[in-house]
Structure formats: structure tokens, C-alpha cells
């Protein structure tokens, strides 16, 4: 059952109209990445390394190029040299240089007249490798003497290792972070119970159902176009230009409809290859569509983590101190979200003394990409699992204990800054009142509770709004619509202008149409593009009031906008009948020209979002199989603009978290090759695996947004990992500290306990 904690007083905000792109999406008309084609188009295919770590000795494409219809082959030799920093990392990941760094790493690409021909040609490109020692697991990779991956890619945060004996150098540590406050040793000394445990999570993939796809066209002059499924067309533009050494403004990127992203489509993979092939094939457009296997082997999964957590607690549940050391590998490149994981780890709790230590480690795996609340689910798994064990030890109710430590407005966060208005306590109170929390449990069943946190990102934002001649409005946004953004922004604009929702058209536009926009990421689209759209609408309203004032011959300040019309105010009140948006728009050509509004900014006032989940599971004691019986999500949405899509974010996040907790993982062989690169063996939850996911939309409005919005997209994936681990512990009495909690692992733990 779905509940909302408060009602809104708005005309449209908080209602559930049909999404404007719904019709196209239920009829098959909507055009996604692979649905786009052009005259004269070629098809591209990518040759990928079968080795986890190997020096590339020779690439011979002569046999492929000899085939009729094969038009171009590109290798790293076709890319500029001398890139540095993240641009270098992106180029290295796009196409291997001297060394292939992971199973699936691109080493060459070919363009041909048909998809089949391109694949045949790719098979005929002969690559000679010298296989190098590889390392996959984060704890192995951090060890002194582990195979060195891309030596020298460590940044300034890594303490210098000169003087350290060569065998003792930790080659693969590329980033180090430490922060905290208070005296943790003092805090642990004051505790009645101190527990310290180690936890591990495996890499998982965002698992969007739409594989990466693009059509790229670029001439010798460096002018180009790209049609691509992405969360951020300007990111694609900037990154492709950097990797290819072309000018950003010369590349025009149009986003298609996007079949899911969850962070995985905020960066580039094969997009520069399409452009490089096109440039080499005389400017003919080149289409590249990844197979599922390519998606799993060569696009961004999330990091895998190894984590030590120590917490001190008083008998009454009050936390006195906490310490976390997280080690994460994000593939053969810097960028594991260890910092974000640490920021979120203890964010829900007011703790006098906290210490955080993090290491970003290289391993022979694909470059990790953002995945919904990057890092936060891993940290939550470790911290919320340990808190659950401590509550059992001290006989405390998990919600009471969390309420005892919960951060409130004005409390200092675990990462420093003081919290503004937040809704953690409200989510805890809400789940306690929900019927699921008191549902009776049978044998082998258990209930788990966990809390989670994620920030809300502002980000570069540019929005444009124009009033049409008939008084309807068009809004141009730069954040692709992954889950209903068009409807939430349409609702806010219609609410602000005082016109019907149906009279607003929200367009996701290409890079030529707006200033730079960051992607739809960081739970920012409804917050940031929404806030900018509202401000743009207010600008247009100001202009319309001016036009009306001109018609009436009164001072614009003496005009107010209400219910879709300009009205004389103050001393002029009632002197003239209201002038509607339709009348003003009809005359705009003769009263000063087009009426529009723009807003460009990096919006402040982001509102973080807390959530609390409650899950009931049943574990088969003979097989170790876990069945999710009930699932409840309560999360602070600030204010739900379109409640159905807010619920959808809660439910989708929970489902991904359930998959991560129970079955999803990257499985590597001793040869360093990925063993489960198809959906048959990379096990995302199917419909029959899940119960209905119940939601409670808690609304503690964010004062930083005109309609109180908080980003809601990411928090929902954070609590499920520990919530399910806690439920399994309640059902079986055994605690699993290594995800995923597969039947073999659960059964082994149950048997180990039975054997004493």
C-alpha cells in the first residue's frame, strides 16, 4: 500500500497526470539509441581484449580491410597523444594503448556496410598479446608487490612512497582520503559495547535494459554530430572532444530517449570510436550498438569494496564513537566512490567522534561508472549491519536505537557541515506506524530495518522557456528524461504560470540549443532543471506583467500575476479586467516581441534525502534460499511533484538494492575473465522474485527549492543491502558480511553454526 504523509495546497503540484511521453513509449514510437539511422550509414564493431592484463604486441587488420564493404579500422594510433588527468583515463578506457587493462577492453574498431559484416571483420583483426600478471580482488590489489597497473596514476593525495622498499610499495593505491572529528579512542573508551567487523561487497552493474548505442558522424574538419542514449549530452560532447582532440563546440550531440542509466550513462565508452571511424571513413555516419555482453564486460559497473567498521555504543544505544576504513577498486582507473561512501556511512547519526579512512585502488577490471548513490550502499551495508548486531547484543529496538542517534536540523553531520532541514526522524516514525512493521512473522522468517542517505547534487543547469502565440508554453531542458522528468517539470511550470498542465510542452534538447548542462545524475533533474524552469517561468511572468501594464498604461510594479492572468494591483486593483496569458501572447508581436525566460546557474539549496526501509524475508534452512515477503520504503521527498514517479524511484531503487544484496555480482575466473556477461548469469531480479514494494512518501519540504523538492532518485538503493542482511540474521541467526547473500553462502553459514 502507498501512503503520503502530507497533502499539498497546490493546484497541480502533487497530482498524478499522464506523462507527456507516455503515448510514444507504449506504442513503440519513442526512439532510443539504437533506433536512429542515417542515409549512407555504416555499422561499427569493436575488437576487445580477452585478457585481464596484456601487452599489445601487434594488431593486424589487413584481412579485415580486404573484405568488400569494410571501410575503416581504428586503433589507439588514430587518437591524439599527450592527454593528462581524467581525459587521459577516458582515452585509455575508450581504446587500449600499449596495454589492455581488463577483459573486454577495446583494442580496435572497424566500420563496415552492415552489422554482420562489421562483426565478421572484427573477428578477422588479429591481435598479438603478451599476457601480464593480473589482479582482480581489492584486498589483493592493495597488497605490496601486487601486479602494478598503470604505475604513476596515483594522485597528490597518496603519501609519497620513496624510501619504501620496492617490494613493499602499494602500486595500485591511487587516492587516499581521511576525515573526521573528535577523539575516537576517547569515545570508544566511554562505550559499554564496542564492536568491529569487516564487510565485503562485490561489483554490480547498473543493468539498464538498453545497451549503449550511438550514431556518430565527423568530417576531416572536426565538425561532427552524434545521436546517443546518454544521461548527459554535454558530457558526451566534452569527453569525446577531449579524447579525439577536437573542439567541443564543433560537436553537436542529440540525446535519444534513454533506456535506463542509473549513473552508467554519464560518461563515454564507444562513442568516440564511432566518431573516429566516421572521420576515417570519409565522414559517413557510423552506428555502434553494444551487445549485452559488451555492456557487462566493458561499461561501468560499480566498485567492489572491503570495509572495516568499528562502533562504540552505550547500553541505551547512544553511539560514542565510530571508525570506518573503506578499500574500493573501481577498475584499472582512479575513481572508485570511496569518498562518497565514507561521507554517507555515518551521515544518519550524531556521533561525538568519527574517523574515516579511504583508499581508491586499481584492479584489472572495467572502469567503474557512477551507480545510483555511488558508494553509499556499500558503506550502509557495513555500518547498518554492525548497528543491527549491536542492537541485538544490547537488546535494543532497531528503530528506537536509530531515533536515539538520528541527526536533526542543526546537528553537525559526520562529514562536517551542519544539517539544515532534514527528514530522517520522520521516515523512522513513519515506518513504525506502517502495518508492515507489525505484521506477524512465521518460522524461518525475519524482519530487517536499515536507514540510508544520499546528497542531492545541484550541477550546471541551463533552461529556456518560451511562450507561444496561443498562450501555451514550451520548456527546453538539458537533462534527459529517464523516469518522468518531463511531467514533473511540466507540472511545476504549469503551476507557476497558472495554465493547464497540458498547455506545457517540455523538450529535452541537443547541445546546440542551451548552455552547458550536467547530466541527469545526482538526483538533480527535478531539483535543478525544475528550479531553473520555475525561475525562467517567473521571468516570463515578469515580462507579461510589463506587457499588460503597457496596455493599461500603468506601472509594471502595479501588476500582479495570478491564475494565468495579469491583474492590476494596489491602487489600480479592479480598474481593468484581468489580461490572460492567451490575450498577452496573441499580442506579443506588437507589444515588444517574443516572450521568454531563461535561467542559467549552478543552483544552490540542494536538499539531502534520508530513507528507512523495512523488509521481511523467509529463508529456506535446507537450501539457503531467501524469499522477500514484504518490502517497505519510507523516504523524504521534500515535496512530491508527481507522486507516482517518486514512488517509482523508491520502488526501483529498492529492487536494485535487493538484487545487489541477494544475487548480483561480477564473477571472475582465475584467468581474470568475467564469467557471467549475460543476463542468464548476471541475475537481476525478475517480476516473480519480488513482492509489491510499499512506499511512504515523507514530505519535509526543502526550503532551497520553490516547491520544496529534494532529489529522490538515489537514496532508495542505499538501505536494501543492510536491511536484507539484517532480516536474514533475524530469520536464521547467522550474519552474512559478504555480498551477495547467495543460497550457497547462506546455507554454508547456517551449517557452520549448526556444527558449532
Amino acid at each position: 500500500m502507498n501512503m503520503r504523509v502530507i497533502d499539498t495546497k497546490f493546484r497541480l503540484v502533487g497530482t498524478r497526470p499522464n506523462r507527456p511521453d507516455g503515448l510514444d513509449k507504449v506504442t513503440g514510437r519513442a526512439r532510443y539509441g539504437a533506433d536512429f539511422s542515417l542515409p549512407g550509414m555504416l555499422w561499427g564493431a569493436v575488437v576487445r581484449s580477452p585478457h585481464a592484463h596484456a601487452r599489445i604486441l601487434k594488431i593486424d587488420a589487413s584481412e579485415a580491410l580486404a573484405l568488400d564493404g569494410v571501410k575503416a579500422v581504428v586503433t589507439r594510433a588514430d587518437f591524439p597523444t599527450g592527454l593528462t588527468g581524467e581525459d587521459w583515463n577516458l582515452q585509455e578506457n575508450t581504446m587500449a594503448g600499449d596495454v589492455a587493462l581488463y577483459d573486454g577492453h577495446a583494442v580496435a574498431a572497424v566500420a563496415a556496410a552492415s552489422a554482420l559484416l562489421a562483426q565478421d571483420a572484427a573477428r578477422r583483426i588479429k591481435v598479438e598479446y603478451e599476457v601480464l600478471p593480473h589482479v582482480i580482488d581489492v584486498d589483493d590489489a592493495i597488497k605490496p608487490g601486487a601486479p602494478a597497473i598503470r604505475p604513476g596514476s596515483g594522485d597528490h593525495s597518496v603519501p609519497p612512497q620513496e624510501g619504501v622498499h620496492p617490494d613493499m610499495v602499494r602500486h595500485n593505491v591511487v587516492r587516499n582520503i581521511e576525515f573526521g572529528h573528535g577523539d575516537v579512542e576517547e569515545g570508544f573508551a566511554q562505550a559499554d559495547l564496542v564492536m568491529e567487523r569487516t564487510y565485503k561487497t562485490e561489483a554490480t552493474h547498473q543493468g539498464y535494459i538498453e545497451p549503449h548505442a550511438c550514431v556518430g558522424q565527423m568530417g576531416e574538419d572536426g565538425k561532427g554530430e552524434m545521436w546517443v542514449c546518454t544521461q548527459g549530452q554535454w558530457f558526451i560532447r566534452r569527453m569525446c572532444a577531449a579524447v579525439l582532440g577536437t573542439d567541443a563546440a564543433q560537436l553537436r550531440v542529440t540525446p535519444s530517449e534513454i533506456g535506463g542509466g542509473f549513473g552508467g550513462k554519464t560518461t563515454i565508452f564507444m562513442e568516440p570510436l564511432a566518431l573516429a571511424l566516421s572521420r576515417k571513413a570519409g565522414g559517413r555516419p557510423v552506428k555502434i550498438v553494444m551487445s549485452r555482453s559488451e555492456v557487462l564486460r566493458a561499461t561501468g559497473p560499480t566498485a567492489s569494496a572491503s570495509m572495516d567498521v568499528k562502533i562504540g555504543m552505550k547500553k541505551d544505544g547512544a553511539m560514542t564513537a565510530a571508525r570506518a576504513e573503506f578499500r574500493m577498486q573501481g577498475g584499472a582507473f582512479p575513481g572508485a566512490p570511496v569518498d562518497l561512501a565514507l561521507y554517507c556511512a555515518f551521515a544518519a547519526y550524531k556521533i561525538p567522534a568519527v574517523e574515516h579512512v579511504g583508499y581508491d585502488v586499481l584492479a584489472n577490471r572495467p572502469k567503474c561508472a557512477a551507480y545510483r548513490a555511488p558508494g553509499a550502499p556499500m558503506g550502509a551495508f557495513a555500518v547498518e549491519s554492525l548497528i543491527d548486531d549491536m542492537c541485538r547484543e544490547l537488546g535494543l529496538d532497531p528503530i528506537e536505537a536509530r531515533l536515539k542517534n538520528a541527526v536533526r536540523e542543526g546537528d553537525k553531520s559526520s562529514y562536517g557541515p551542519t544539517f539544515g532541514k532534514i527528514g530522517l526522524v520522520e521516515t523512522l516514525e513513519a515506518v513504525r506506524k506502517h502495518p508492515n512493521y507489525s505484521a506477524p512473522l512465521g518460522p524461518n522468517q525475519g524482519r530487517g530495518v536499515a536507514t540510508g542517505y544520499w546528497f542531492n547534487h545541484g550541477g550546471e543547469t541551463s533552461v529556456s522557456l518560451a511562450i507561444s502565440e496561443d498562450g501555451t508554453a514550451q520548456v527546453s531542458i538539458g537533462t534527459p528524461d529517464i523516469g518522468g522528468t518531463r511531467s514533473s517539470i511540466g507540472l511545476m511550470v504549469a503551476e507557476t504560470l497558472g495554465i493547464p498542465y497540458e498547455n506545457v510542452r517540455v523538450n529535452v534538447v541537443e547541445t546546440g540549443a542551451l548552455g552547458v548542462n550536467e547530466p541527469t545524475h545526482g538526483s538533480r533533474a527535478t531539483f535543478a532543471s525544475g528550479k531553473a524552469a520555475v525561475i525562467a517561468a517567473q521571468q516570463a511572468i515578469g515580462e507579461m506583467c510589463k506587457r499588460a501594464a503597457g496596455e493599461w498604461g500603468i506601472d509594471p510594479e502595479a501588476v500582479e500575476w495570478y491564475d494565468g492572468a495579469a491583474r492590476p494591483a494596489g491602487s489600480n486593483a479592479g480598474k481593468f479586467p484581468p489580461m490572460t496569458i492567451v490575450e498577452i501572447a496573441r499580442k506579443m508581436g506588437s507589444t515588444g516581441g517574443p516572450i521568454s525566460g531563461h535561467h542559467e546557474s549552478v543552483p544552490d539549496g540542494v536538499g539531502n534525502s534520508f530513507g528507512t526501509h523495512v523488509v521481511d524475508v523467509e529463508v529456506d534452512p535446507e537450501t539457503g534460499r531467501t524469499t522477500v515477503l514484504r518490502y517497505l520504503v519510507a523516504q523524504d521527498a521534500g515535496r512530491a511533484i508527481h507522486p507516482s514517479y517518486v514512488e517509482g524511484q523508491f520502488q526501483g531503487g529498492a529492487a536494485q538494492g535487493i538484487g545487489w544484496a541477494l544475487n548480483e555480482e561480477y564473477v571472475y575466473g582465475s584467468d581474470g575473465r568475467l564469467q557471467n556477461s549475460v543476463f542468464l548469469d548476471y541475475r537481476v531480479p525478475v517480476a516473480s522474485d519480488l513482492p509489491p514494494i510499499d512506499t511512504i512518501i515523507v514530505e519535509v519540504p526543502n526550503p532551497g527549492h520553490p516547491y520544496g523538492v529534494r532529489g529522490v532518485g538515489e537514496t532508495g538503493i542505499t538501505p536494501p543491502l543492510p536491511a536484507i542482511a539484517n532480516a536474514i540474521a533475524a530469520a536464521t541467526g547467522v550474519r552474512l558480511r559478504h555480498l551477495p547473500m547467495t543460497p550457497p553462502k547462506v546455507l554454508a553459514a547456517i551449517k557452520a553454526r549448526a556444527d558449532g
Binding site: 545510483r372 545526482g522 544552490d604
Partner: protein, 80 residues
């Protein structure tokens, strides 16, 4: 004067100081003053940091900082 709270690993570049006091009325001035006082911080600040001023993540260099404002330097935040 503003007190800027750094993250611990930056202590290596500030002579062990976790809280650095600088003269600044905006975020930009604050970041520049930090680099001037402690050149070792330059690569971190050039790579990009998030700044929290009085309970808010602020974005622009021109964001004002009042005397006595709560100021934190945080590693850059993004998301999925």
C-alpha cells in the same frame, strides 16, 4: 577572518592544521587564500572541491562568506 575546515588528509600540506584561518569574503577568495598560504593544496583545489558554507553546498566562487561562517571543504560530490 574565516575558519576553513579541511579533511584530515590535507593536514600533510598545512603543517598539521585541520582548521585554517584565512582572510576572505567570498568562496573564491577563500580558495585562493588557502593556496597562497599552503601551496601543497593547489592540486586538490584545482581538481575541484565542494564547499559548504553555513549548512549549504555552495557552487560559485562569488558566493559570499560572512565572518564566523561555518566553512567546510569537501571532496567533489556527484552521483548516479
Amino acid at each position: 577572518m574565516v575558519e576553513v575546515n579541511l579533511w584530515s588528509s590535507l593536514k600533510r600540506f598545512t603543517g598539521g592544521e585541520l582548521v585554517v584561518t584565512v582572510e576572505a569574503t567570498t568562496v573564491g577568495e577563500m580558495l585562493d587564500a588557502l593556496v597562497a598560504a599552503h601551496p601543497g593544496l593547489r592540486p586538490f583545489i584545482e581538481k575541484g572541491v565542494s564547499v559548504a558554507v553555513d549548512r549549504e553546498m555552495v557552487s560559485g566562487r562569488h558566493a559570499p562568506i560572512k565572518p564566523g561562517s561555518e566553512v567546510y571543504l569537501i571532496q567533489q560530490l556527484k552521483g548516479g
